[in-house]
């Protein structure tokens, strides 16, 4: 019978210890000032400068390995289309940069830091400026949601966890 009382006392001690530790950890987090991010789904602020560094690195490697299309008319019309698209949506966290690559590949990509790459093969396939606008709007969506950076963080986080196993 007395054993039961001691067990209850022990459980009470454990619960009290857990409560103290919990309050302590709440206090530590308060003190360190980890602020709640404003929007769910947003990338931490520290990632923004990292993103811009990545962007310039990616731009360098693209310029070294691929041929940039030297057609002022193409670049001007794409700039005009993207300017109209940008006016319609939310402001971007950084400047948009669009590179047109001279390659038969039919594709367009969005990289971290607001870098969009369009292959000339895609432009040849398109029949109207509206189609180009649709492609650019899709890539702009990736830029607005910062999908490239999010995927990068996700990949690095998960592969670090897996490699520890």
């Amino acid at each position: 019978m007395r054993q039961g009382l001691y067990i209850i006392r022990d459980i009470a001690i454990l619960i009290a210890a857990l409560l103290v530790l919990f309050l302590l950890s709440v206090g530590v987090v308060r003190l360190l000032g980890t602020k709640e991010q404003e929007k769910p789904g947003s990338v931490p602020a520290v990632a923004l400068s990292l993103e811009l560094t990545l962007k310039s690195l990616i731009r360098e490697s693209i310029k070294n390995e691929q041929r940039i299309a030297e057609a002022p008319l193409v670049n001007q019309s794409i700039a005009a289309i993207s300017k109209r698209l940008l006016g319609a949506g939310d402001p971007l966290p950084y400047d948009l940069e669009i590179l047109v690559l001279d390659s038969p590949v039919v594709n367009a990509l969005a990289f971290p830091g607001g870098l969009i790459v369009v292959y000339s093969g895609l432009i040849e396939r398109l029949e109207s400026p509206e189609e180009m606008a649709a492609v650019l709007a899709h890539e702009l969506g990736h830029v607005v949601h910062r999908d490239a950076m999010k995927n990068l963080i996700r990949q690095i986080g998960l592969s670090t966890l897996l490699s520890l196993l």
């Binding site: 054993q3 001691y6 067990i7 022990d10 459980i11 987090v29 360190l32 998960l158």
Partner: protein
């Protein structure tokens, strides 16, 4: 039940083999932490294997391994909770709420507390002493030295002196 009915082995009655095995029960936890850190269930499995191998050999070792095993269960669950939460965040929206950091600090504090208790138990087990963690020590003790254990663990063969002595 009075404390007279329970006869505990004294430090000089416990063989050094038993002392080392009992110490190993706590040491096991540190070893598996190093190996299986991202998957906290591994140390629980190791503790279970250790317990089931050693419980037949000696009551003293069985008591210490059961105490180590039982006390690892809540700590492991808390660690596993953080891992599941982290993977969920990485797989979904990458949003780290401040409650996540509270949990992180809470988990670290609990692990530190647990390590302190484990080292205290480890040192005493090596010296042939009993050490009772709150609640877990009591449960483990009643399993191997409690009133029911006396009949449950009665050996089939025992030495008795000749009649008249």
């Amino acid at each position: 039940m009075s404390s007279d009915s329970i006869k505990l082995p004294q430090p000089d009655e416990i063989s050094s083999r038993e002392k080392e095995d009992a110490m190993g029960a706590y040491f096991m936890m540190f070893a598996t932490w190093g190996i299986g850190l991202p998957l906290p269930v591994l140390n629980l499995i190791a503790a279970m294997i250790y317990f089931f191998i050693n419980k037949k050999n000696s009551r003293y070792v069985a008591f210490h391994s059961l105490q180590s095993l039982l006390s690892q269960i809540p700590v492991t669950l808390i660690n596993l909770g953080l891992l599941v939460w982290l993977i969920t965040i990485l797989l979904t929206d990458l949003h780290f709420p401040s409650s996540f950091f509270v949990y992180l600090v809470f988990m670290i504090l609990i692990n530190i507390l647990y390590i302190v208790y484990s080292i205290a138990a480890l040192v005493r087990a090596r010296k042939g002493l009993f050490y009772y963690m709150p609640f877990f020590g009591r449960v483990s003790f009643s399993r191997y030295y409690g009133p029911k254990a006396v009949t449950r663990l009665k050996p089939d063969r025992e030495n008795i002196p000749p009649e008249g002595f």
